[in-house]
Structures are given as structure tokens and as C-alpha cells.
Symmetry: C2
Subunit: 186 residues, 2 copies
DNA sequence: GCAAACCAATTGCATTTTGCAATCGGTTGC
DNA sequence: GCAACCGATTGCAAAATGCAATTGGTTTGC
């Protein structure tokens, strides 16, 4: 408990980190959307974050050790934001959060397919995804081909829903949603 | 998406429910602390919530379907707040949140022992805890004796730490904390 | 029977955070 | 050369938060 914390409770301290309406949205877009640049995050999210709030949160998340910032070699003013291990380990929390929201909140089908696939993939898929993020953001070696990534799998599911057809690897929609019997509890 | 949501994304909608500094603190105190009354929540938490904010959040959580309110038969002005199934299913999220905070944030030992025990207990313990909460808040039948509850187990761990001695069922402290090798990923 | 403690809030007010629109100085593509 | 793009910053109104005091009523202790 370095400075000015309300308590040393793990849940409280976690809330002090991302207990606001935007921090996790930004991390979601970086993790699931692969966004690395200010403009991508500004224009890419459905929730339309304001630029001053985005700037504030990026700064804050850097101070907290969740993100790092580096100059983009291809463009003198471009900055590349990277996830740290601290942020990458949020994947299971985001998976649970998505699963919970999918059961209890009025989610839209096309936006919840990713959460559904991630829930069905379970911890093995989360671990694979975290390894991919480590490769992408921390430079860790990886042997996953670009088309077999978890992100590509989730994206394919999304696009299949948007296109109105089921992808080959997907079960029928009525088998996917079973909030009671198949309730996620990892 | 009934009214005024930023997007139908499950993570976004979840954040709209408890993406603030107090809602999850209140639910934490109800779930782990067994608090059911306004005064308990007001005076019981370390984070010292203000009474107007507590009142506002209780109202809000009721409107969202996370809590219900009933008159306490033993006291004409006393209100009893109960968790709904929607709130009870937050247990895995809180467990992950606590586990994450314990690894990455400056938690205090005595306040993180509960998170640690809950992490080690894993999904079976979370399920047991949720069943206990259903019994306590929803009146569901249960055959767990009062001294064998998950909450009592967590509380015993906490008190053992505070008293400065390890309880019988607890492994040595150096075995408990292994943030890398034993990282939680349920 | 009566005061003190307790009950779930509510009120007023100052401070902080948020959301929005416009704009900044600089860089790149064409 | 100039439009589009880059990561921000500024100004300002609105909303949320934090704090202290208070409300109208109930129960407890004696």
C-alpha cells in the first residue's frame, strides 16, 4: 500500500485500478481488437470514448504499469502502446466478465459471440490467447501461425454472425446458450 | 439493450453495471462479510463509504436486479438487503479479481488471505459458496452445517493471520504464494 | 417513562470527474 | 503545397463524489 489507497483489500485495490467506465474498455480493445495506436482506440470502439479521457486513461494505465508506450519507427509522431504482463493476465477476468454479462445483460448477438467462444474455449484457450498477447506485446517467442490465433478465431466467429451464417467449427446457436446447465464456473 | 446503453458488448454492459468505485465494494461486503443491513455496510467496510453514496448504490443495484430489499421483522425500520442470483454469480469474478489483485497490487496480508484461500479452493469452493449464498439470500435448501461454510473457512483464515498463527488446515505461508508457477487460470 | 442509541436514509454544499467540441503543432501521403 | 492524419490539450458545462449535518422515526437500557 504505497500511497493513498482506501484499503489493502485485493478487490478494492483492483477496483482502484480499473473501477471506472473506461479503463477496461481500452484494455478490451487492445486485447481483443488488437488496437495499439491512439487513433485506433479513439475511433475504433463502439462506445465513443472522448480523446481527453482516452489520453488520461492511457497515461494512468502507464503509471499503473499496465501499459507501455513506444515510438512507432514507421511514423515519427505515432506512438505504440503495449500491454504488460499485468494487463495480459486480465484475460481470465475479461472472459468471466463477458460470460456474466452475456447471461444477465441485454447483449447484442454479434458482440457477444466473442465472449461466448472464449467462454467455451475455457482456460486452455485463455492461456493460448495470453501467450499470443505476450508474443505480440512483449516479444516472447511463439510458434502459432497468424491464421490460427485465438483473436483470429474470435474474429471469424464475429464475422460469421454478422454475415448471417454459422462457421464450420461452430455448433448450432441453440446449443451455445445454456445459462443454467452450462454456466461457466472456472 | 433496453435504454441508453453505450453498446451491446458484454464487457461494456458489465462495466455499466459495476464499473464504479463502490458497487462491487458493497457486493463484496454482502457476499464475503455477510452484511445485510444499511448500517453494517456503512460502518463495516474499511473503505468508509459515505451514507448518501451507499443509499444511491443500494437503490441502483436494486433497480438493476442485483439486490432486493425487505423489511426486517425484528425491527420496524430495519431493512434487509438480499443478493439475487445475478449478484451471487459474481463470485467467480470476485475470486479472479482478488487473485489478480493479490499478484499485482500492494495488498495487505491479512486482507488477502481470503482471496488466497478462495483462489486455492478453486471452482468447487466457489460453487459451494454460491450455494451457501443461495441458501442465505434466496431461501434455497442447504445441508451445510453453519461452521463448515466457506465464509466461516475464509473468516477462520483471516483471524488466524490476525492472531499471528497458522490454522491447522493451512499450508505454510511460503507454499501459498506462488504467483508464477501457481498462477490462477480457471 | 424517558433519554440515549440506533435506523435508513436525505439535504446542502464544495470538490472532483466526466463528456463534449474545438483546437493544437507537427507529420505524412500524394 | 495541401489535405489527411498524428497524439494529444484546452475550455467549459454537467454530473458524480465526498463530507458533515440532519431528518423522522424505533428500540434499548434503566
Amino acid at each position: 500500500m504505497s500511497i493513498d489507497h482506501r484499503s489493502g483489500c485485493p478487490i478494492n485495490l483492483s477496483l482502484e485500478v480499473f473501477g471506472d467506465r473506461w479503463s477496461l474498455i481500452i484494455l478490451r480493445d487492445m486485447i481483443f481488437g488488437g488496437k495499439r495506436h491512439f487513433r485506433d482506440l479513439l475511433n475504433g470502439s463502439l462506445e465513443r470514448i472522448a480523446s481527453n479521457i482516452l489520453a488520461d486513461r492511457l497515461k494512468r494505465l502507464m503509471e499503473l504499469g499496465m501499459l507501455t508506450r513506444a515510438d512507432d519507427p514507421t511514423h515519427k509522431q505515432k506512438a505504440i502502446y503495449s500491454l504488460t504482463e499485468m494487463a495480459i493476465t486480465l484475460v481470465p477476468i475479461l472472459a468471466h466478465l463477458g460470460a456474466w454479462g452475456r447471461v444477465w445483460l441485454p447483449v447484442s448477438e454479434e458482440l457477444s459471440i466473442r465472449a461466448e467462444l472464449l467462454e467455451k474455449g475455457g482456460p486452455p484457450m485463455w492461456e493460448k490467447f495470453m501467450d499470443e498477447l505476450r508474443h505480440e506485446h512483449l516479444g516472447t517467442p511463439s510458434d502459432t501461425p497468424p491464421d490460427a490465433t485465438v483473436r483470429a478465431t474470435l474474429q471469424a466467429g464475429y464475422e460469421a454472425i454478422v454475415a448471417g451464417k454459422a462457421p464450420g467449427a461452430m455448433p448450432a446457436p441453440d446449443q451455445l446458450i445454456s445459462p443454467i446447465a452450462g454456466r461457466l464456473c472456472y
